[in-house]
Symmetry: C2
Subunit: 206 residues, 2 copies
DNA sequence: CCTTTATTGAACGTCCACGTACAGTTAATA
DNA sequence: TATTAACTGTACGTGGACGTTCAATAAAGG
């Protein structure tokens, strides 16, 4: 009955799929998941409603696809090859600066909200977003510090992440203040590294 | 025209107001804001729809009221008079344990989600929740440490908060793992205090 | 060629929640 | 007592989005 008709008949247009995704992205961010409708997305994509149903079945599936794509993009932004500097500490600092610069972007913030809003109804979404975002970032950071502090690196990376994204950055996420300035990021990142450095005796040698 | 008819005619029944609030709380937590309807809340409260419109005008207003009430309750839970112990550090640790015990509760987590989900559409909600929750907690913690480290106390309190509620507690919030056990809380709280203690030379004297 | 699938545009019936209105009651004040 | 306003139950019209169907056209395979 339900055999795979792979190469029979017309193909689904991948370009339309992309247009739908882009439109969905736009609508979700603009109106939030609750107010987003398939019809609005179809119209925004310049595509018929039936086509949307054909590519993705439901709003949830659409959101899932959108978030996955974006998580990937954000993630690869974070893990972009870092400039190697003289000391390990400088490397860590650069990583932090780069991370916070990404986290303060309007786009990133909006996506965090979008995902958080669905935490109860679509837990897999959160998992996917977290795993391909934060989790990979932490791994990278830990790898960076491992030469110096060994197995404690994972723990230290987690603490650094917590410090970096807590405090004022958390306020930014909640919309309680505007995005951190470059100076604030630099200052905050270094300060946190200092704190963790003392606790884990990260030192200056390379 | 629009004079205040304060004491003319029947009064709005405060008990019904409470029933509506309780019902709204239940419905919001159960179905999320997006799927909550005034009719469902009215029926859950055993009250006519018109009465709900009379007490609160909109769903948003209802959510606002519900969140304010809950934030107050959570907040007063956090700032409950602490057991005085021998050392300042023990006091701080007790505060942290108490805080994390509150944060891991299903109820608290659900409310954080509810608020986060509305961050874009109802920013005032986030502000209110944060101010009467986190912010007061931090003040208290800072006050606790001020005798020892003076003006740095605010900064230190913020760092501690970040460390405490980051890492695994953050995973709990995202639904990536079950709530922290008592042991985990105890251990984590002490460890964080240790880290911050080293950076700010919190010491054992009282 | 023929068959199968994708896509469109429009139309469909359904459902659900909205916000309001009405007539009748219950409770407060003056 | 008369007045004013809070309530109830019910009903109404409206609008929005759902998910599906249909006939027609376009693209891909055998």
């Amino acid at each position: 009955m339900s055999a795979r008709h792979k190469s029979v008949g017309r193909q689904k247009d991948p370009e339309k799929r992309d247009r739908i995704l882009a439109a969905a992205r736009k609508v979700f961010l603009l109106r939030g998941f609750g107010a987003a409708t398939i019809e609005a997305i179809a119209s925004e994509a310049g595509v018929s409603k039936v086509t949307v149903y054909g590519h993705f079945g439901t709003l949830e599936a659409l959101l899932h696809a959108v978030v996955l794509a974006e998580a990937d993009s954000i993630n690869s932004a974070i893990s972009r090859p870092l400039v190697q500097s003289d000391t390990l500490i400088e490397d860590v600092i650069n990583f932090g600066i780069h991370l916070l610069s990404t986290l303060r972007e309007r786009n990133t913030l909006d996506f965090e909200h979008l995902v958080a809003a669905r935490a109860t109804q679509q837990p897999e979404l959160v998992t996917a977003y977290f795993v391909s975002g934060r989790a990979r970032g932490m791994e990278l950071l830990a790898k960076l510090m491992r030469p110096d502090i060994g197995e404690k690196a994972v723990e230290a990376a987690e603490m650094l992440f917590a410090l970096w994204s807590g405090g004022d950055q958390h306020r930014v996420l909640l919309g309680l203040r505007g995005p951190l300035s470059d100076d604030e990021i630099d200052c905050h990142v270094r300060f946190c590294v200092d704190v963790i450095g003392k606790a884990y005796s990260l030192d200056e040698r390379k």
